[in-house]
């Protein structure tokens, strides 16, 4: 007893302690995409190694894939080369590949849960920092670099140190027009972008208990933006209901056995935590970032900070961020005119995100001069959205309706900001240059808030449009 989910999963997957004191940890599910894997497969070949457990690795293409319907071979030579490379690697490695023809392609952190690959109690690794997303199902999931992708391919293991656990308890209930994105942005605002270094974040409390699984995925997704490589939520009935019936989920009698095992992985009620933080869910407002990291965040009706009121380095950092963002010290964030609205990404590219945004957009028009994109996180999300007629709502309002992929979250395809455009974005990073233009500027917010900004032409409290 007194164990956290992290303790239990760690113990179940520890192969041995290495001479250094790190754990050799077995990885139950390995996800691969085209950007961080080619060098790993090359390193394997150089050392004469092969993929040890090919059935435990799954691959897709998401980062460079065009979302505008371009067909293979792509005109973009390097993108085409990366496609060819991953096709060769999964072919030689005997790895299941969710390419476009499969009908199940999508952003790696969208398709894992959607296909039932992601399950409670697993260890999950992917060469992508937002792997923390999968913790929403009660898994221990973390992002790794390319050398560790190589390690997992070759051995199904990683050398890693066990983190501490901070429980973040969100009490009460969320107000109308306040979404899971606002919850995680508030947490990052409170604990800072480096507050989570060395920790796994366990999210709990009434707000999390009541939250949909898609909302939980949004919260865990941005754990890494709080510095925490791992974020998770204990599995409960919502989790089991979510997993049931998915293509790779256990079925029939096996499902019952799975639920027994999964429920045993949850943190004990008297578990020991290294730290506990409590937040009042009712106090959370729709949030908007104003700076160059996700900790630079305020409620939509608040003002950006004034560096003059801050000391030394903190003041300098705020001044640098405001200058890059072209915002005046102490100015209101609401009313700021935007150039681009982007709905999508592994944070907010799921069906409920599109539904929440469509509810705002319906019967309204994108403001003149605003370029608006709706990009489903996977082919299955896109199919479902079209069944529900969401595509038509977006198109009627003046949005572009795209194919699935990462798109303007990091702009490795042709979806990019131009010059110093200001983007209202449902993605996860407002870093300098993140959306494809070195001087482009990003305001992170919930998909409903992006929709509100798109139709108003400026940052707007979505609650006024509900």
């Amino acid at each position: 007893m007194r164990q956290t989910l992290l303790d239990k999963i760690w113990a179940a997957h520890a192969v041995r302690e290495l001479a250094s004191g790190q754990t050799q940890l077995f990885i139950g599910l390995h996800l691969v995409h085209e950007v961080t894997s080619p060098q790993a497969f090359r390193m394997l070949r150089e050392r004469g190694l092969s993929v040890r457990y090919p059935g435990r690795t799954f691959a897709t293409v998401d980062h460079i894939i065009p979302t505008d319907g371009s067909e293979r071979p792509l005109l973009d030579d390097m993108a085409e080369r990366m496609f060819v490379e991953i096709e060769r690697n999964v072919g030689e490695g005997g790895i299941k590949f969710f390419d476009e023809a499969s009908g199940q392609q999508g952003i790696v952190h969208v398709i894992g849960p959607e296909l039932g690959l992601t399950q409670p109690g697993m260890t999950i690794a992917c060469g992508d920092s937002h792997t923390s997303t999968h913790g929403a199902l009660g898994a221990v999931a973390f992002g790794v670099g390319t050398s560790q992708v190589r390690d997992v391919l070759a051995t199904q293991c990683m050398a890693v140190e066990k983190p501490k656990v901070r429980r973040i308890e969100i009490t009460g209930s969320l107000g109308r027009g306040v979404y899971p994105k606002d919850v995680i942005l508030s947490i990052i605002g409170l604990l800072g972008v480096h507050g989570g270094i060395g920790y796994a974040y366990e999210y709990g409390g009434e707000v999390i208990d009541e939250m949909s699984m898609e909302g939980r995925l949004t919260v865990c997704n941005m754990s890494i933006e709080a510095g925490a490589r791992i974020g998770y939520i204990n599995p409960d009935q919502s989790t089991y209901d979510f997993v049931r019936g998915r293509p790779y989920a256990p079925a029939g009698d096996a499902f019952g056995r799975a639920v027994d095992w999964w429920s045993g992985q949850a943190s004990d009620s008297d578990a020991d935590y290294d730290d506990v933080v409590t937040m009042d869910g009712a106090a959370i407002e729709p949030m908007v970032t104003w700076g160059i990291n996700p900790g630079h965040v305020v409620g939509v009706n608040q003002n950006v900070p004034d560096p003059a009121s801050l000391d030394g380095a903190a003041g300098e950092a705020v001044a640098e961020a405001l200058e890059f963002m072209q915002l005046e010290p102490g100015a209101a964030i609401a009313g700021r005119p935007i150039d681009v609205a982007f709905i999508g990404s592994c944070t907010n590219g799921r069906i409920s995100d599109l539904q929440e945004a469509a509810a705002i957009v319906r019967g309204r028009k994108v403001a003149a001069g605003v370029k608006a994109l709706a990009v489903p996180g996977s082919q299955l999300v896109r199919d479902r959205a079209e069944e529900l007629g969401l595509d038509q709502i977006f198109l009627d309002a003046g949005f572009e309706w795209r194919g699935s992929g990462c798109s303007m979250c990091l702009a490795m395809n042709s979806d990019k900001l131009v010059g110093d455009q200001l983007s209202a974005s449902s993605s996860n990073r407002n870093f300098k240059g993140r959306q494809g233009s070195p001087t482009g500027r990003t305001l992170l917010m919930s998909p409903a808030m992006v929709a509100a900004a798109a139709v108003a032409g400026e940052v707007t409290d979505v609650r006024t449009l509900l």
Binding site: Q22, F26, R42, R52, R56, T155, M412, R434
Partner: protein, 200 residues
């Protein structure tokens, strides 16, 4: 693999000031459009350098040939891209000293044999000032003694024991060790109920 042991790193420093310098800034995403890590060195901090109009420390001739970056809080946050430490390594960086590091960046650097060691905030500031005042002076990171020295300055550094051990013993690239436990790995694989789909 003791010939790859890293016990100390000595070289000229480069003060790179600012908190939360993320890996998108270290190497912009457009350079991830590649199937190798070749040629990344020249693009390290490309957009920051462009925007600084020649005033970025990477373009300051006084710091040419530097091997040790002295950084502030949460350096290398954000994206897991190993391209970031690969770019720094190819630019010539062999170690970093900072107040804290993004965790994935820290691990990626370790796998390349690049130690990231930690000093207190005030010590970082002193070290950055000292390097800026005398760029040709040599910094020494002594992992055995857990010390960072530069001229008269000497600080005790922090590094997690397992990380220090793996550097000192030359096992910082973990793959060799991980390959050494196929039977234990298979045992874990076989006993995890989800591997067989809870077949009962």
């Amino acid at each position: 693999m003791t010939d790859s042991a890293i016990t100390r790193v000595a070289g000229r420093g480069l003060p790179l000031r600012g908190n939360d310098i993320d890996t998108d800034r270290i190497i912009p995403a457009r350079y991830l459009r590649a199937v190798t890590f070749d040629g990344l060195g020249e693009h390290a901090f490309e957009d920051d350098r462009e925007q600084a109009n020649g005033a970025h420390p990477f373009d300051d001739p006084r710091f040419a040939g530097a091997a040790i970056l002295v950084v502030n809080n949460n350096f290398g946050s954000g994206s897991s891209r190993e391209h970031a430490p690969q770019a720094l390594m190819r630019w010539g960086v062999r170690a970093l000293i900072g107040q804290s590091f993004g965790e994935i960046f820290f691990g990626n650097s370790l796998t390349l044999g690049i130690p990231c060691v930690v000093l207190a905030e005030s010590e970082i500031v002193q070290l950055q000032d000292a390097v800026a005042a005398e760029p040709t002076a040599e910094i020494t990171i002594d992992l055995e003694e857990r010390a960072v020295t530069l001229g008269d300055l000497s600080f005790s550094l922090q590094i997690p024991d397992p990380v220090r051990d793996s550097l000192l013993s030359g096992r910082w690239d973990a793959l060799g060790e991980l390959l050494g436990a196929p039977d234990e790995t298979a045992a874990v694989h076989d006993r995890l109920p989800y591997v067989s789909g809870f077949s009962g």
